[in-house]
Every structure is written in C-alpha cells, then in structure tokens.
C-alpha cells in the first residue's frame, strides 16, 4: 500500500530511530525488532549483543510508564538494567496476535495495577527459558543454574553464559506453564529510584510527538468545528481564499470545516479567511445561567439514583442537636494537554495508516476503521509520544475520525493539528457538578445523619451508557460510596443526572476532583460546627471502614510531616483532606496565606501517598508534584464557561495555568503499605482543592463552596 504512494516507510522508521539514539522514542519498531532477534515471550526480545528490548503496551504521556513497566519485567528477568531499551507494539499487531499484549488503554491510574502480574510473569517466564537453554547447552540440570544481571551461572562448575548467547535457543523452548514470582523482600530493582529512560532525548528535543510526524508528501490541515456543541455546518464562502498560496482543498464535514494546505500555517491562515455559517442545532442560547438553573433543579429533584444508603435518614435527622446545610458547585474544566490534539492519516483504498498521540491505540484503530467502514485489520496504528494526556486522549478519540474524514478527501497523508483555541473549545470536559449537603449532628457534634445529593453531567451516560445500572452512575458518586471513609449511621448518597449539551469526559482523577472537594470541605464544616480540630474530627469519624487503617495512616503521615500540631509560619494556616481513589490512599495538608488584597498564596503542600506498592519512587514523587499542580491550577483558576451555547475561553490568556512563581513546595511522603498495587498519577489531584480551601477557611473564616478561587473576593473587610 505504501509503494503506490511513493512512501518508503522503512526508511522513515530508520531515520526516526537514528535521530533519537538508543531509544526509538515515539515509534513502534515491532517488526524491525522481530526481524532482528528472537522473541522470548511476546514482551521481550534479546539481541546477540545482550540488548534487552522490552515492549510497553501502555502509552507514555509523562507519567513514567515507559520506565516503570519495563522495571516490572526486568526484576523477574534478572537482566542488566543498563541494557534495557523499550518499544511500543502496534495495536494492529496486537489484534493480529490475539491481543497478546492485552489492553493498550492508559488511564484510571491502571497501568501498574493491571500490568504488574502479566509483566512480572513474562519476565519470570523468559528467565526460566533462558536458564533452560543454558542448562541444555551445558548438559546440566536447570535447577543448578541461576540468572543475575543478564548472566546465567552454573553453580557447581562456575561456567557462565550471557543472555544474548542463549536467546535464540531459549526462544525455541516451550515456555513453562507455571512460574514463581519473587517475594517483594527479594526485589533488587522494584522500589528503588530508577532514572527514566526517556529523559536525555527529551532535553534535546528529539522525541517525536504526534504533532511532529513528518511523512514524505504529507499535507497539513487546520480545522474548525461548530462552536456550538452538537451544531452543524450550514455554508462556507471560499471566495476569500481563492488567491491564497499553498491551499489544496477545503473539506466540509457535517459539523466542521478543514483547510488542507502545504503547511499548517498556510492552512490556518486560509481557515481564518473563510466565512462559515453554522446551524446551532437549538443550543445557541444555552448559557452559564441556564445550566445553573438546570442543575439547581437536579438538587431539588424528587427522583435520583441511589448510590449508597445506610440506616434511616429520617430517623437520623429527628432529634438532631444541630443541622447544617450547604450547596457546593464546580465548573466544567478543559484538559489543555500541552500538545494540542492532532492525528496524521493516510487513507489508500480500503486501508489506512495513522500516527497519533493516544492513550488508547486500540480505540484509535477501531475508531478509524469504523469511520471508514473497513475492518480494524486494515488500519495500521503508530502511537507517538504524547504531550500530556490527563484523560483527554483516552476514552474519547474524537481527533481520529475527524482526521480520517479529512484525509479521505486527499490522496496524500494529512496531518491534522488543532489550534489551541480549537483544543480548548472542543474538549470532553470535566463535568459541571453541584452537591447539596444536609447533616444532623449529635450533642457531641458528630454526624448522625448525612444526605449528599449530587447533580450534573454524567460521563457514563454519554460515553459508556452500558456502565449505568438501573440509571445509577456510580462513577459520578465516587468518593461518596463504599470509598467514603467516615462512619455515618444514617446516610444517603444520591444523584440526579442532569446532562447539558456540553460533552464531558474523563479528566485526571475524574469525579473525585469535585467530590473530594465537596466531601472534605463539608466534613470541615462539621468539625467547625462541633468545635473540634479538623484532624481530630476525622480521626474520630474514621472508624469501622474496612480500610480505616490505611485512611488513618496517610492522614497521620501528612499531618506529622506538616507539623499539624505545631504553629505554622506567621499568617500561614493549614487545611487537610483525605481520600481514596482507584485503590490509592492519599492525604494532603495545604499551607496557605491570604493577603490583605485577597491574594491566596500556597507556600507548601504535603502529600502522603499509599498506592500499596511503589515501583519507582522517583516517578511516584514526580507524579505527586504533577498532580498537585494539576489540582492547584483547577482550584485557583480552572473554569470553562458557556455563553451562546459555546465555550467562552480560548487560550491560556483566558484559561489560566499555574506558573513557576506560584508553585508551592511540595513534600511527598511515600507510605506504601504493601500487598496491593495502585497508581500515583491521579489520586493526589483530588485532595488539593479541599486542603487548600480548608486552609483558607482557617485563615479567613470564609468557607469556599464553589471553585475556582479566582471568583471569590477574599479581601479583608
């Protein structure tokens, strides 16, 4: 298929490989490797020079997967870590080989959790095969040999062979049906700080992200989608671009227009010169106010899906010593990955080849195939490096079908790059949400009853309706269900779904990002009403939960490191929050000051993190810092607002990001308690806003019940 278009794909791959040195960053080389040396299990290729190539099915988007997943293999393989390189297998290869590499989807902090066992087993399997090959060569029993650092040693005779010498023979040996994994106490690599494999290339500008893909004969496209969600294209007046250079074609889609040109800049200029008319599909009058009214209706609605109920609410509210009530709300948020959405596609007849920065290569493949009405077998997918993901590039692959439809109109490869404005205005946003809290406290100030009514845009009902059970979206209520840490005798969490026309999706740490803010702020309100220290109040309330020990451990660890019971710096106040997300337990203490002019400063944030097992403490710590920035950016500034059915924000000048000057000192206490595996990339995001807002309450007496903070006047009056 490539010959026809005159593209020598092999030459292209080689060029990329040579440009990036040892690591072929950004590109799969499955075929090339398979031709070079034998596979010992689908995950491992060992070359005669002892180079170990480990395959990584998940995407690298900054979270360190590309280093952590190979560590899991290498620990059991007993190879020399300095000889390890990595490659991404292609999703279409996975399909052809009966999904031998399993799931490619990268999200939900799942990469370690779901991969650890198969990867460690692959390493152990390959190690046993290599030992068996060496033993056979020597004519000795395999149990007299052991592997360490890519060398197999025969104990009694002291003879040695390196992995590279026996790799070909090992590949022919039937894999053992059972392998024994090491006891964590014997780990030499896992749990130690290991340098990331991709850093040197990244400081030299070498990795190829999707936006950097460059194919011979490639054209470029800029696009504009209907600014009002769910609207359609009415007409395009092309007269303004007749004389513009480099323009190849104007592609009109149902709800978008694209200009294909010799360069992206020329395409963008021409796109801006088009006069486009849209049909707003009836949503052109939707605004922040109408969405707010719609959600307020949800708070008061009689009907709501029950996520959890304990005891009897009416009984709990009867004879309460104190009742407290409060409404909370959060806005839509865009992901704003640093690399805007993009996808490069070459369609030839009934096959297609795509290059895409995606968190889910298999979904990208299926989506391209579906759009073209062809079989997935006919779509070749190359995953590139990702300039951030945060959930934008996972469950939603909208950038793929758009690019495919544009590329279908031209007979050359086309790289479709979204402008930042397009990227901000066409996202699958963190849902808008509200919570109405009512609680009854007893004479000691402890809660007897608590009703949590939530409302807002359901992600499941739009993206994965089959996940709904009896109309209940459990993900929307995460943090208020079995994962709610506190003992409340009479408790009800229910959710009235209110879907707006704005598309919503999975945003780093998903619904925990609002629910933890709602819950941990309101618990602080209860503590204040009870006149009890917020840390002490939580300690009393975390009692019978099956993970009580873990919740308490991170809470205490964060409080101890922060010096909760010692005075903070002058004018500085502390707030805290605790949560469990995707199996990881996390607590934070934020230190904040509020100036006379209302400016909020956050000099220090302490995070305590228990993901069970930590593979690479270096990346775990950096993920924690990264998550704090993500959560803090949203708490301070994050807000996507709707007017006339469209997003009002467009770029970083009006969708503000945290910068270096505002960066708190982040201290992470890694407190893995062992025995389980969970992730680090998302969980700390959720605890930042409540810890900060609780600190602001301590500082000012003002309770923050809506985000972002920039909308609040915190000046001293």
């Amino acid at each position: 298929m490539n010959a026809a278009s005159g593209i020598d794909r092999r030459a292209f791959l080689v060029k990329v490989a040579a440009a990036s040195g040892a690591l072929t960053l950004g590109f799969d080389v499955t075929q090339a490797a398979a031709g070079r040396a034998p596979e010992i299990t689908a995950w491992i290729v060992i070359q005669p020079d002892d180079t170990v190539i480990i395959r990584v099915a998940r995407s690298e988007m900054g979270q360190g997967t590309l280093t952590a997943l190979p560590m899991l293999v290498a620990e059991e393989l007993e190879c020399d870590w300095s000889k390890v390189t990595v490659e991404f297998p292609r999703p279409d290869e996975n399909l052809r080989r009966n999904r031998i590499w399993g799931d490619f989807s990268t999200g939900g902090s799942r990469s370690i959790r779901n991969s650890q066992e198969p990867l460690r087993k692959a390493g152990a399997t390959a190690r046993d095969m290599l030992i068996a090959a060496a033993a056979a060569r020597w004519g000795v029993a395999a149990n007299e040999c052991r592997a360490r650092n890519s060398v197999i040693t025969h104990g009694p005779s002291g003879r040695t062979l390196t992995f590279g010498k026996v790799a070909t023979a090992a590949a022919k040996i039937a894999p053992p049906t059972e392998v024994t994994l090491k006891d964590p106490a014997q780990w030499r690599l896992l749990g130690t700080p290991v340098r990331r494999l991709d850093v040197t290339d990244k400081v030299m500008g070498k990795p190829i992200y999707g936006i950097d893909v460059n194919l011979p004969g490639m054209l470029h496209a800029a696009l504009m989608q209907c600014p009002v969600f769910k609207g359609t294209l009415k007409s395009v007046d092309e007269s303004g671009i007749a004389a513009m250079r480099g323009v190849q074609k104007v592609v009109k889609l149902k709800d978008a227009v694209a200009v294909v040109a010799e360069t992206w800049w020329l395409a963008k200029k021409a796109l801006d010169a088009l006069r486009i008319e849209w049909d707003d599909g009836g949503n052109g009058t939707t605004s922040g106010d109408s969405i707010r009214d719609f959600l307020l209706g949800g708070l008061a609605a009689g009907e709501a899906g029950i996520g959890r109920t304990d005891g009897n609410l009416a009984e709990g509210f009867a004879n309460a010593a104190q009742r407290i009530e409060a409404d909370y709300s959060v806005p839509f948020l865009a992901h704003a990955t640093m690399e805007p959405q993009n996808c490069t596609v070459h369609v030839t007849g009934n096959t297609a080849e795509i290059w895409v920065p995606t968190q889910n290569g298999e979904a990208a493949m299926a989506s391209a195939a579906h759009t073209l009405g062809i079989s997935s077998q006919n779509v070749r997918v190359h995953k590139t490096m990702l300039g951030g993901g945060f959930g934008r590039r996972g469950a939603t692959q909208d950038f793929v079908p758009l690019a495919v439809l544009i590329a279908k109109e031209v007979d050359r490869p086309v790289k479709v790059v979204w402008s930042r404005e397009e990227d901000i205005r066409h996202d699958y946003y963190r849902p808008v949400a509200m919570a109405r809290m009512s609680a009854a406290l007893d004479a000691a100030g402890m809660p007897r009853a608590w009703h949590v009514r939530m409302t807002g845009n359901s992600i499941w009902s739009t993206l994965m309706p089959t996940a709904l059970r009896g109309g209940v979206d459990r993900q929307f209520q995460e943090g208020f269900l079995a994962d709610m840490p506190y003992d409340i005798p009479h408790y009800l969490a229910d959710y009235a779904i209110r879907n707006t026309h704005v598309p919503v999706g999975f945003w780093r740490c998903v619904n925990h990002t609002q629910n933890c803010f709602f819950r941990e702020s309101f618990i602080d309100e209860m503590a204040h009403a009870a006149g009890v220290d917020p840390l002490e109040y939580r300690r009393r309330l975390i009692g019978r939960h099956r993970h009580a020990k873990k919740f308490l451990a991170v809470l205490n660890a964060a409080a101890d490191r922060a010096g909760w019971n010692t005075p903070a710096a002058p004018q500085t106040y502390r707030g805290l929050a605790v949560n469990e997300a995707y199996g990881t337990f996390v607590a934070a203490v934020a230190e904040a000051s509020v100036g006379a002019d209302g400016t909020v400063r956050t000099p220090r944030i302490v995070v305590a993190l228990d993901p069970g097992t930590i593979v690479n403490p270096l990346t775990a710590e950096m993920q924690s810092e990264s998550a704090v920035v993500f959560g803090l950016t949203a708490a301070l500034y994050g807000e996507i607002t709707i007017k006339d059915g469209r997003v009002e924000q467009s770029n970083f000048d009006n969708y503000r990001m945290l910068r270096l000057a505002e960066m708190p000192k982040v201290e992470t206490v890694l407190a893995p308690s062992g025995g389980f595996w969970a992730g680090c990339g998302e969980p700390p995001v959720a605890v930042v806003a409540p810890a900060l807002c609780n600190a602001i309450f301590a500082a000012t007496g003002k309770r923050i019940r809506s985000l972002p903070l920039k909308n609040h006047d915190l000046r001293k009056v």
Binding site: E60, M61, G62, Q63, G64, R195, R196, D198, V199, T200, K202, V203, M204, G205, K206, P207, I208, Y209, I211, D212, N214, H220, R245, T263, W264, W265, A336, T337, M338, E339, P340, M385, L386, G387, G388, G389, F390, V417, S419, R420, L618, M622, E625, S626, A627, V628, V629, F630, T633, N651, F652, D653, M657, L658, R659, L660, A661, M663, K665, V666
Partner: protein
Amino acid sequence: MISLTINGQSHNVDVEPDTPLLWAIRENVGLTGTKYGCGVAQCGSCTVHVDGVAMRSCAVPASAAIGKRITTIEGLAENGVLHKVQKAWVDHEVPQCGYCQSGMIMAVAALLKDKPKPTDADINSAITNICRCGTFQQVREAIHAAASA
C-alpha cells in the same frame, strides 16, 4: 524566499515574511524540537534564541529574524556535549511528558547567560513558561544546580 541562520546553518525558506518564526522552523526547516503550545506568546513552548535572547517564536515574524543568529533546542548542545542546563535537566529528571521542555530549557539557558546566579525571585519573573505536567519544582532545583555547575 528569506534566509534564516539556524544553529549555524543558513536556510533559504519559502515563506511569507509575516509567517511566525515558529512555523518556519518547524514546517519549512523541519526542526520539530521547538513546539507549538498556544500561538499567542503565553506558554513559551516555542522559545528559541535570536541573537542570544530568548524569544517566543510564535510571536516573531520570520522576517524579523533575517540576518540574526537563531538557536533552537537542537543547536543548544555543542559538539555533542550537552549544555549545562540540559545536563542539570538530566540529573534532576525534569521532563515528564517533555513537550514544554525545549522551550523551558531555552528560556533558562538565556536567563543564566544574563544572570549566572539567579535568585528565586529572578527565576520567578524570568521563567513564565507553562508546563501542564507541573515540573516546576524540579525546574527550580535544576536551575540552581546549573547555576552552580
């Protein structure tokens, strides 16, 4: 056709004079280490040196760089030896996704030329690049390390 000198090499580039330098570098010259993040001088992903001064190339017309020395991330290392900022970046493992890092490194390299021992306040006011992965803590540490290297 305009002539641009990038990393010591001269290139004849067929662009309109008002084409942003960023796109001339990425699309016409083919050096993709310099990144597009916003196009409106907000994020700094596109930072390059023009006659030694850090500039956000999305906001500089290509014509304004004629006759000047342009350095991109690909030209920062000399004779295969990493610049001290790049070295500090490797030691402190600064990059996460890496996308913003070319611009971040170029901005820091220019800062250190101006102020070899920057204070935290100098760093705060000079380094305003956006990093969505939130590498700022490592960035600050690495700047101090590079300054004392």
